[in-house]
Symmetry: C2
Subunit: 292 residues, 2 copies
């Protein structure tokens, strides 16, 4: 079965899925995206992903006429057509194709530019993430040199790419990005530490991406009487923490056992992270029926 993708209303072979070279997503990173986890053929947290997508489109004044219902149907149709029970759904919406000019294309009715919409699906091994709860992963640190609106999930990801590549080169899973001494977040994950049974993560604002998995974890932890502090924390505080972990759509929760060359706690995943791991995967099971 050939892999399939969605481009502007049509399901096409993945190999043939293309955008015009003058798409503003390509020439200006004038595009937003979402990555959704699909387990048992069901999209995790679809509602929150849609809310975030629409908020980001609004921030950039990209007018996208598609309504939620039909769009969800198209996403589900693409997932079904690809036939993977467990996969990642990638959604990208750009301002559309226009003659190259930094400013937005003229909004006059005669020259309406339609957003370009792309969706792709690829198989993903979520069970690996459950196994990694036992081993944990390592992170390095790097200066956060991204732009001032990383709360908008745009395709302008080169700073993230270079940080992730630095992590990969160092044999680490992720790079935590520093503003001075403060740990903001990872290159594609949110960053957390545990102190005295409380969990701490950087507050929302223009300097972090408001992760769907982050929101979900806050909800689950609070319901389980685990205190959540949304406040900046420093690298020194992280190194001295009892535990550390990260969250994202593709890594719903992973223990961080080392930051740069510093072991966290006893260098093994800790009990609070383990407990949160149970809660996170129970929520996945509740929404999708998926079990490792």
């Amino acid at each position: 079965m050939p892999q399939l993708a969605y481009v502007n209303g049509r399901i096409v072979r993945h190999a043939d899925a293309s955008l015009h070279v003058e798409d503003r997503g390509t020439q200006f990173a004038d595009a937003v995206y979402e990555v959704c986890a699909v387990l048992n053929g069901r999209i995790l947290d679809w509602g929150p992903h849609l809310v975030r997508l629409r908020r980001n489109l609004a921030e950039l004044a990209i007018h996208w006429p598609m309504e939620d219902g039909p769009f969800g149907l198209q996403a589900r149709r693409l997932i079904a057509a690809n036939g993977h029970a467990d996969c990642l759904l990638y959604i990208q919406i750009s301002r559309g194709v226009a003659r190259r000019d930094h400013a937005f294309p003229d909004a006059a009715p005669a020259s309406v530019v339609m957003p370009s919409v792309v969706m792709t699906v690829r198989r993903f091994d979520f069970a690996q993430r459950v196994r990694q709860l036992d081993t944990g992963i390592r992170v390095i640190t790097a200066p956060d040199n991204r732009w001032g609106r990383v709360d908008i999930k745009t395709t302008g990801l080169l700073g993230n790419v270079l940080a992730k590549q630095a992590a990969r080169t160092a044999g680490a899973f992720e790079a935590w990005l520093l503003a001075g001494e403060v740990v903001r977040e990872g290159s594609s994950t949110n960053a957390w530490i545990v102190r005295d049974g409380r969990i701490i993560t950087h507050p929302k604002g223009s300097s972090i991406l408001p992760g769907i998995a982050r929101d979900s974890l806050i909800r689950l932890a609070s319901a389980a009487q685990i205190v959540v502090e949304e406040r900046p924390f420093t690298l020194a505080e992280a190194i001295g923490a009892d535990e550390a972990f990260l969250t994202s759509t593709t890594a719903p929760i992973l223990p961080v056992v080392a930051i740069d060359d510093h072991r966290i706690g006893n260098g093994r995943p800790g009990p609070v992270t383990a407990r949160l791991g149970e809660l996170v995967w129970a929520e996945v099971a509740r929404q999708t029926g998926w079990r490792a």
Copy 2:
């Protein structure tokens, strides 16, 4: 005659020019670009554009096997095929197509990813820029919220786009980007002021794009015994300056007659800018034979 574009070694109809949706330029802004001025069918400052392009590719560790000679031939072939004597040549090179992952695609020999190369050409009215020497243009100011490596000319331009759009909405030509009180550059142009016959522009470094037109102007001014100071200047200094102007490939030199609501000098293009305009367009004529 249909408009033509160049995509990965082939000249194709512009309408059909496309890149795969998983091109890293599209998904990560993992791409660099150049815009060159073509007058009388000749590329202005081709050598410096090539040097900058190669430096930017090296900064991102994008390995592009094409040599200068053949690449120049392909660029000139596309220009000739489009048949416009005066136009802009857009060149974009991304890391290539790969399964979506922030880190660079595996560099193992079996999985070599080839950069994607796109060139487009569009007609451009340079005579308009000469006429604008007499009227000048207005700029607004906006905070510089771009990432920390704007010296690399990447397609991660959304910060520039939003600033340019703010200028357009305000009826201005450009937005000058501020770091605190310091004027760094425009959203797609370098920024200059004139004080006591000297010309002043922000020094090179990671916070401005090292413009080819900027380099050229420094050379021409110096040869004409006009003192050039490469140093940061403030918005207050700019507002109090005798003259102001901007430079770029598509606006080789334009007088700035107002910044926000402040008139610069007497609100008309000044004599130093006029003299520099003569030098700039004489250099264009020398290289290409073009005259307004």
